[in-house]
């Protein structure tokens, strides 16, 4: 089996880490009730909207857990070169993309406000998704 190229592995590690920082920031904001530092208007409206919580769990926390797992799985692959991890990773990033697509939809069409942190998260999860497709091609 071909090994994952270095750029792809480091790409996964770095992008998931950025996503993790972003989602962690939002999770802490959520639990402390503080206002976000917003460069563009509307992010606090988005972050405190009714859609920011699902079954009592803040979306930001789910995001942080998602990015942390991608990060840890990538580190695990780096360390073990275990090909099974790649399969999990490539599937996992599909879920990330779908969730982000839903959040972008909510911001644009339901809430009508844009939150830069959520858009950053949409970007990182889209990149991870693209990486995920690459991984698939390396596996086969």
């Amino acid at each position: 089996m071909k090994q994952l190229p270095k750029w792809l592995l480091w790409g996964l590690i770095i992008v998931s880490f950025i996503g993790f920082l972003d989602a962690t920031y939002l999770t802490i904001l959520h639990y402390t009730g503080a206002d976000a530092l917003c460069a563009i208007g509307g992010c606090n409206e988005v972050l405190t909207s009714e859609y920011s919580i699902i079954f009592g769990i803040p979306m930001a926390l789910l995001g942080a857990i998602y990015y942390l797992s991608v990060f840890l799985l990538s580190v695990f692959y780096y360390e073990s070169r275990n090909a099974k991890v790649l399969k999990i990773l490539s599937l996992y990033t599909i879920a990330g993309l779908l969730a982000s697509a839903y959040f972008v939809y909510l911001q644009l069409f339901v809430i009508g406000k844009i939150c830069q942190y959520c858009m950053l998260s949409a970007t990182t999860s889209t990149i991870l998704f693209i990486f995920g497709r690459y991984i698939k091609s390396y596996k086969s």
């Binding site: 962690t24 920031y25 802490i28 009730g33 840890l72 580190v75």
Partner: protein, 209 residues
């Protein structure tokens, strides 16, 4: 083996450090003075007094409920010499924080804000653990002799939600550490006991007179 340990140890360190860093980014700032007393604030005691005790609370917060009897005692004792103001700081971790604040606002519209505040704090464990807290709020409104249909309408209105949000905004702006947060004439106080609380208030009243 050594390389494995190194990789995982650095990973754990990086994760912990980044959580810590993000935490500092959010809550590291100092607490600012809260916004000035406004006409929209709920006030009790002597409204002319120069000493103002301001509380930011959340009806679902256990620490607020445990402080409530203290505040009540102190208000009974010093109510002639100070104004007591209550503002909402509904924490997002409490799923009924907003609706309970709205219930108090709705009772306030019929002149019974502090009566509802008292019922909400005194019976906190009951309604927090009930299936539909709103039903409990309605029963409190009934006990207080409020116009119940008006109460329900006000509790669920977007205007009431906006009033609660205004308080939340001012709490966020002041960078409050949590609930309850007390300000005595603009300065944050953290009394550890009712005795310490009493001393602080007594000193402030003596200094003002």
């Amino acid at each position: 083996m050594g390389k494995k340990i190194f990789i995982w140890a650095s990973t754990v360190i990086v994760i912990i450090a980044s959580i810590y860093l993000m935490g500092n980014l959010v809550g590291g700032g100092p607490v600012a003075s809260p916004s000035e007393v406004s006409a929209d604030d709920w006030k009790a005691g002597n409204l002319e007094a120069s000493v103002v005790l301001l509380e930011y609370g959340d009806f679902q917060c256990p620490a607020c409920a445990s402080r409530h009897p203290m505040v009540k005692n102190l208000l009974a004792e010093f109510g002639d010499h100070m104004t007591y103001i209550y503002r909402h700081f509904p924490l997002s971790i409490h799923n009924f924080a907003n609706i309970s604040a709205a219930a108090a606002e709705a009772a306030g519209k019929q002149g019974q804000f502090f009566e509802m505040q008292d019922l909400l704090y005194t019976n906190q464990t009951t309604w927090v653990n009930s299936v539909v807290p709103e039903d409990m709020f309605v029963s409190y409104a009934t006990d207080l002799g409020l116009n119940v249909s008006q109460f329900v309408q006000d509790m669920n209105s977007s205007d009431t939600a906006a009033l609660v949000r205004e308080d939340l905004k001012s709490a966020n702006k002041a960078n409050l550490p949590g609930t309850p947060t007390f300000f005595l004439s603009g300065e944050m106080i953290r009394p550890g006991s009712e005795g310490a609380f009493r001393t602080l208030i007594r000193n402030a009243i003596e200094a003002a007179s």
